[in-house]
């Protein structure tokens, strides 16, 4: 019932779930062997960055526009090209519609 059969292979989420459960059990076992003697609410659970003073919460969080900075920097040319058609002007949206329609008419009439 849960096995998805098609032409050349099968996919069974139950097998995957069993594997996940076994892995989770191993992880929990390893975790339960860990150190338990620390005290909550004392300096033992504070953040420690090599003695530097810990900045406030807003500065500890990396905001979204800095994530994957290198990726966007490397693909700058691609994104500049991509931004050009995304003008946000309604006339351009209709222009794309008419253009694609004309191309499709030509393709269908020429090919068939």
């Amino acid at each position: 019932m849960s096995v998805l059969t098609y032409g050349y292979a099968v996919w069974s989420p139950i097998v995957w779930l069993v594997v996940l459960l076994v892995l989770a059990a191993i992880v929990l076992y390893v975790r339960s062997r860990g150190q338990k003697r620390y005290k909550k609410g004392t300096a033992q659970t504070d953040i420690f960055i090599s003695g530097i003073q810990v900045p406030p919460a807003e500065q500890r969080h990396v905001p979204a526009h800095n994530i994957y900075w290198g990726f966007f920097e490397a693909l700058k040319g691609f994104y500049n090209t991509m931004m050009r058609p995304h003008t946000g002007i309604i006339n351009d949206y209709i222009l794309w519609l008419v253009a694609v329609m004309v191309v499709t008419v030509l393709v269908l009439v020429m090919v068939i």
Binding site: M1, S2, V3, L4, T5, Y6, G7, Y8, A9, W11, P13, I14, W16, L17, L20, P56, A57, E58, R60, H61, V62, P63, A64, H65, I67, Y68, F71, F72, F78, Y79, M82, P85, H86, T87, G88, I90, D92, Y93, I94, W96, L97, V100, M101, T104, V105, V107, L108, V109, V111, I112
Partner: protein, 522 residues
Amino acid sequence: MEYLTVHSPILIVAVPLLAAFITPLISRIGNKFRDTVNVSLLSFVTFLIVILTIDIYANGTRVYTLGASVPELALPENYMVPVRIMFQVDGISIFMGLTTTVVALAALVYSLQFVKNETGQDRFYSLFMLLYVGMIGLEFTGDMFNLFVFLEILSIAGAGLASYRVNMADAVEGGFKYIIISAVSALFVLFAIGILYSEYNLLSIAALAHSMQFTTLDLIALALLAIAFVMKLAGVPLHMWAPDTYAVAPAGITPMIYTSSAASMYALYRVTFTLYGGHFDTTAIGWVVIILGVLSMFIGVMMAIHQTDIKRLMAYHAISQSGYMLLGVGVGLAVLTDPVALANYGRDAMNGGIFHIINNALYKGMLFLTAEAIFFRIGTRDLNKMGGLGHNMKWTTIFFIIGALAISGIPPFNGFASKLLIYESVFRFNPLLSIIAMFVSLVTLASFTKVFYSAFTGPEMPAFKEVREVPRSMLIGMGIMVACIIFFSIFPGLVVDTIVAPATDALIDQASYINGVMGAVP
């Protein structure tokens, strides 16, 4: 029971229509009463859909002719062609109907709390029900003109709802863009219908398919219809309205407008497979659909990872996921005239594409709801200003993780099952397309990691110390979708065998759709 089954196609359209127009009246009694009536009427429609689904999988296509002495009587006495308005419900129609109804129910329950403090709630629920009627009608109708009428109903209701929060300037702009592109593409659809009518004097889809001659005019009509529907389903390069509209629509409405795009996708499949299938080489139009699909997947996801507005990011993902559906079904369309290839991989590709429609409506809708839950509590959609929300919004975080894993195609979620079908069967067709699809899945995971990291993780921000979990009805709305996602994840085989495979067969088997109306073809 038998009576309900026979009349369910019209009741499924009529009951929400009734709900739409009595809502302003009954809300004079009280808002609670109105909400109860709306939810119970939609639950009744869900019940009817389930009855109709069981009937259709047992007995095949069901035709409902309005004004006939017997509803199943499609051809009037002494007539060779159908002239009456009718609904024709087959496997793919009921599949789409089921998808629409699940999303609508979850969105309605979610909206109950969401619009509680807004003005104009009566109009909200009226338009909500009209949007639902538009989608269901589009999926059930058996003639081309009603296809146009229901397309316009869903466009008008959708645009009205998208700009529901008229106090925000961007909401008005998003709704305006949606109604402009809808009006233009719907007029092109009507023009194409006029071309078809001028040639055959017919409007019924089955009768038109029966007498289709594939002249040059027919091909022009096919191009107009197909591209107008691609505009409505936001395939690249006609996608630019989608982020604008999805981003500003209120919660509960964004999944509905997204599902109405899926309904337009159904219309595209209905036109290409049923109306123009048969004795016609569909390879060219199949490749058009495949190219649009690959462009949608790739450009959609590359634009998505760049966004910093959480709902625009998810809107671009909606575009990119539509690409998978177009790719899967486009491969089926391209090999439709080649029985060996169709049996080898075409049918599996189509199964994957169609399975992806319902999967995506569920998890994409759920992700939109979580995004709007964040907006509901902190009042901004800007990812740069978020952080540490997981400390206070635990359920939303869990729902978001499930949705993000499912959309990225991480096993064992349902997104993986449908994507696996698409990858493996498209690989047989053309390995390059499959590799692009896998790459897109990877970038999807990367961009949802970005959202998860910047919105939910991190230290608890002082600005968001007072943020609480969203109200219960919103959690229930998301919970309905999560329950469906988990069910679909654990039983993909059951779902594919019982509801997806009949839908695929209904698309491939054009003759049985025609026979449902015209009687046995000589």
